[in-house]
């Protein structure tokens, strides 16, 4: 594949922007968590694209920083999704809702 690395980065940016928009726009907490996952995937893609770029620049010597870090990101994403969903469950138990609009308790 000889796609220029810039296109990979651009795809990542697009993915991130969509995730960000969804993060702000959606009211359902679970969907918001999914948008977070989208953003994390965009980050992953960025890492991998950079790793590929460096690999090709170094004449084929694999740059492992990208994939390693991508692994870590995946782990963290899993962790975050787990904890977040546990919180959603607790929230649902207390307020019978998963809509963000109903949980603005920190409001002035």
């Amino acid at each position: 594949m000889s796609v220029p690395p810039g296109h990979l980065f651009a795809l990542a940016a697009l993915l991130f922007a969509i995730g960000l928009a969804g993060f702000f726009l959606r009211r359902n907490v679970i969907v918001v968590l999914m948008c977070i996952e989208l953003m994390l995937n965009a980050a992953n893609l960025t890492f991998l694209a950079a790793s590929r770029m460096h690999t090709l620049e170094n004449g084929g010597r694999p740059d492992l920083q990208g994939p390693i870090f991508a692994i870590f990101v995946i782990v963290v994403a899993a962790v975050e999704a787990a904890v977040g969903l546990a919180l959603v469950i607790a929230l649902y138990r207390n307020k019978q809702t998963v809509s963000l609009d109903d949980v603005a308790d920190l409001k002035d």
Partner: protein, 185 residues
Amino acid sequence: MANLIFYVMAALVVVGALGVVVARNPMMSILSLLASFFALASIYLLAGFQTLAALQILVYAGAILVLFLFVIMLLNLADEKPLERIDMALFHERKTIWTLVVAGALLGIGAFTALELAPPAVAAGVQIPEHGIDDLQGLANAMFSRYLLSFEIISVLLLATAVAVVVLAKRNRGTPRLDQGGEST
């Protein structure tokens, strides 16, 4: 040929992502996300990251999304009426406009950087190593030597998460249990 597949997969990723944002039913969101993940995995593959592609499917699609699915099922959110609709009315909200502005700004700067500033296409003749950039051997070597500390830390993190999730999701029994008989202690 590979390039064409890439662009198709890229389009699929975007469509999937949009699906997550736009879908009314949370179930549809999950399914779009699934599609997006699959497309992303194939992109990883095309780019030469075999292990990561596998991990993406295994962990993301196989574990995380399943978790989401469980929760939605548990809370019975899937078969309810759509919780919210994305109407045109939503677009008149200040929040929507600002969101689009901010996201658009980030996208713009990101795309600009990516397309204008990134280095040009690969030099001809350079090849991706045969077993992929992240062949398992190399990955393992790196993980357990150079990145050992991080590895240990995230393993601790996983442990902590397990504990935390259990604690958070446990059914709350209300006030602390008194001993039977009601003697004050």
